[in-house]
Symmetry: C2
Subunit: 407 residues, 2 copies
C-alpha cells in the first residue's frame, strides 16, 4: 500500500464527463489499497472566465479580492470530484487549501508556500477517505485570508503535499503523454522521454516547456519527490522525473526547450561597480517579476551593458520598475525588444562537453538563424533569437542532435 | 452616521452591469458617511447551475460536499462587488461567511445560524472599509467546515448581522418594489404597502409570499431589527417591516398570501392519546422537513384524523419518514394529495374580529371554490383548496376585502 498524491489539471477535469473519468481512475487506485490525496485545478476555462469578469468590473482589482474570487474555481472542481467518487462508493472529502493546511506568504495572486500543516488531511486519510484538495490556493497567517499561488500553483500544491506527506509518488495528470524531446506541436517526431533527471527537467521547465512549471520541479528536487507526468486521457506510462542517473545520460542532449513569450531588456552604459546588479534587480524582485536569463559581458572603460529577459507581458511593469534606478546609477539608457524568443538544448554536463555548444551554434547558423544573446548553465545552453525563427530553430536542433523517434 | 446592513439578491447582482449599479448605490451611501455591511447572494442562476452540475455527477451528493460547492457562488459575487467598489475609489473588502464570523449548527445545506462573532467585520469597518459578506453561508465549529443556510439564507445572514451589529437599518434589495397586498403577478392591481408589522409579515412570509423567508422575518422580530424591502432597480422607498402599530391596523385585512407548492398529508384513524402528535412529527423534524399547517379535528370513539401540509417537493421524503411510526401507533392509513394549494388573509387581530372569517368563506363560496381545510392564527386565516383555483381565490379575496390600488 502506497501513499500517492495525484494532480489533475484543468483540461482533465474540464467537463462533467471528464470529472467522472478522473473519479474512475482514482477509484481504481483506491480499490488497489492505496491512500490517495488528489489535487485538482479549476475546470477548463473557469479561471480565465473569472479573470475576464473581474477585469470588466475593475481593470486593476486588489490582489486580495482577486484571490478571494479565483480560489472559487478549484473549490468547485474539488467538490464535484469528491461527489463523483462518492457516487462510485468511494469515501471522499473535499478540502480547501486552507483546510489542507497550506500556509503561504501574503503575496496575493503569486503566493509562495511557506509550510504545510496536514493535520486534517492525515485525519481524513486515517478514516479511509480519498482527500480531494482544491489546488492553486493556500492562506496567509496574518489575517487568515485565502491566497492563490500563481501559475503552476496546482502542480506546486501537489508536489509540496507529496513532500510533506512523504508520499511514495506524485502523479501529475495533464493532457499530454509526458515530457518530450521538444514541443510535439513544433516538432512532429518529438519523442516522449521515459525518464528525465530533476536537473534536466528544471532547465526544460525554465526554458518554457509548458508541461510543468519550474517552481514545482524545484520543490520536487529539493524534497526528492519522484514525480510522474502523464495523461489523464489514456493509460500510457508517462515520464518519470527523478534522481539523475548521471553515467547513463551525461554528455547527451536530452531535449530542446523553447519560449516565445519573452522580451529582452538591455541597460546600456552601466558603470561596472560592485552592487550595481543588486540595485537593478532588487525592484524587479519586489514586484515579483521573474527575471530569466541575465547576460553581462566584460566591461570596457569601466562601462558595460547588461541584458536580461522577462516574460513578455511583464515588460511594461519591468521598464517602470527600473527607470528610477537606471537614472540613479548613471546608466545611459534602457533598450527593449519584445520581438525575441529563445531556444535551449538541455542535458547533463553538456556545458562542459567539448563541441556541443559549437555544434548548436553551427546548426543554427546553417539554418540561417542569427544568435543575439547566449547564456549557459551546467546542463543547458540558451540562445536568444528573433521570435519568428524560434520554431525553425527547435526543428533544426531536434534534427541536428538526432532526438527524433518514428514519425 | 448610521450603520446600515444591505442585502442584494441574485437578480440584483445578476450581471457585470448590475454589480456595477449595486456598487454605485453602495458608494452613494458610503459618501453620505454611513458605515456599511453588504451581504450578497450568488449571481443570477449560479446556484442552480452548480446544483445541476452536482446532480449530473451524483444524484445524491453528501451535504457537506454540496455546501463546499454551493458556497463558491456567493464568494464570487462578493469578490466582484468589492472590486466594483474599489474601482469607484471606495475601500471595500470581501469576506466569506466564515471570515464574517457566522457560526452555524452542522445541518449541512440547511444550517441555522447559532451565533456571530463579528470581530473581523468590526476591524474592517474601523478601517473605513465597506464590508462585503458572502451570503447564504457560515461554518460549523466541530470541523470548521463551510455550511450553507438553505433557502432565504442570504436574507437571514443580513438580518442576523444587523441584529448582532446593532445596525440602524437592514435593507433587503430585491427585484420587486416591496411587500404587496397580494402577489402582483396574480392580482394586477395589488398595492405596495408602505408599512407592515413584523407579525403580519411573518404570516405573509409563512403563507408563501416570495419576497422574504419566514426565518428572516423571525430573526427581525426577535431582535427588533427594522427591515426595509425595496428594489435595487429604482429609487422607490419600499416597505418598512417593523413594530406593529396595532391601533391603526387592527381588525383589517392587510394582504392576501398564497402558496401553490404544497402537498397535504392525512393520517387516517389516529388513536387520540397523549404523545401521539409528538411521535408523528418528531421524525419529520429530524429530517428537517418544514411541516406547515396542522389540523386535527375532535375525535370520535377515541379515533381522529390528522392532516398537515408540507412543501410539495418533500412529500416523498415525508411519507417515507412517517410510514414506520404510523404503523407503530396503530393508525389506519396515510392519504396524501399533491394537487392542493392555500390562500390566506393576513392582518392584526382578524381571527378575533367577528365576521371576517365568515366574509372570507363567503367570498370563496361565491367564486365557486370549495374549502378543504381551514387553519387560523391570531393574525391569519388559511384555507386549503384545489391548486388550480388558488389564483382565482387570491383575486376574489383581494377584491372582496377592497385591497386594490389604482390599476
Amino acid at each position: 500500500m502506497s501513499l500517492i498524491v495525484q494532480k489533475y489539471g484543468g483540461t482533465s477535469v474540464g467537463s462533467i464527463d471528464r470529472i467522472k473519468n478522473v473519479a474512475q481512475r482514482i477509484a481504481k487506485y483506491y480499490k488497489e489499497g492505496h491512500k490517495l490525496v488528489v489535487v485538482v485545478s479549476a475546470m477548463g476555462d473557469t479561471t480565465d472566465d473569472l479573470i475576464e469578469m473581474a477585469e470588466k468590473i475593475n481593470p486593476n482589482p486588489e490582489p486580495r479580492e482577486m484571490d478571494f474570487l479565483l480560489s472559487s474555481g478549484e473549490r468547485i472542481s474539488a467538490a464535484l470530484t469528491a461527489m463523483a467518487l462518492q457516487n462510485l462508493g468511494v469515501p471522499a472529502i473535499a478540502l480547501s487549501g486552507k483546510q489542507a493546511g497550506i500556509i503561504t506568504d501574503n503575496t496575493h495572486t503569486k503566493a509562495n508556500i511557506l509550510k504545510i500543516e496536514p493535520k486534517r488531511i492525515l485525519e481524513e486519510l486515517e478514516k479511509g477517505r480519498v482527500v480531494i484538495v482544491a489546488g492553486f490556493q493556500g492562506y496567509e497567517l496574518q489575517k487568515g485570508d485565502v491566497t492563490t499561488l500563481g501559475r503552476g500553483g496546482s502542480d506546486a500544491t501537489a508536489v509540496a503535499l507529496a513532500a510533506v506527506l512523504k508520499a511514495d509518488l506524485c502523479e501529475i495528470y495533464t493532457d499530454v503523454d509526458g515530457i518530450f524531446t521538444a514541443d510535439p506541436r513544433v516538432v512532429p517526431n518529438a519523442k516522449k522521454l521515459d525518464f528525465i533527471s530533476y536537473e534536466e527537467m528544471l532547465e526544460m521547465a525554465g526554458q518554457g516547456a509548458q508541461v510543468m512549471q519550474i517552481r514545482s520541479v524545484d520543490l520536487a528536487v529539493t524534497h526528492k519527490v519522484p514525480v510522474i507526468v502523464r495523461s489523464s486521457f489514456n493509460e500510457n506510462s508517462g515520464t518519470l522525473i527523478g534522481e539523475g542517473k548521471e553515467v547513463e545520460t551525461k554528455q547527451k542532449v536530452k531535449g530542446i526547450a523553447h519560449n516565445k513569450n519573452i522580451a529582452k531588456v538591455t541597460i546600456v552604459g552601466v558603470p561596472d561597480k560592485p552592487g550595481i546588479a543588486h540595485k537593478i534587480f532588487a525592484p524587479l524582485g519586489e514586484k515579483a517579476i521573474n527575471v530569466d536569463d541575465i547576460v553581462q559581458n566584460v566591461s570596457k572603460d569601466g562601462i558595460t551593458d547588461l541584458s536580461f529577459t522577462v516574460p513578455e507581458k511583464e515588460l511594461q511593469k519591468t521598464i517602470e520598475a527600473i527607470q528610477e534606478v537606471v537614472k540613479e546609477i548613471g546608466a545611459k539608457e534602457i533598450n527593449y525588444d519584445n520581438n525575441v524568443g529563445k531556444v535551449s538544448i538541455v542535458g547533463w554536463g553538456i556545458q562542459s562537453t567539448p563541441g556541443i555548444a559549437a555544434k548548436m551554434f553551427g546548426i543554427l547558423a546553417s539554418a540561417g538563424i542569427n544568435i543575439e544573446m547566449i547564456t549557459t548553465s551546467e546542463i543547458k545552453i540558451t540562445c536568444i533569437i528573433r521570435r519568428d525563427l524560434v520554431e525553425k530553430a527547435v526543428r533544426a536542433l531536434h534534427d541536428g542532435f538526432n532526438l527524433g523517434g518514428e514519425e
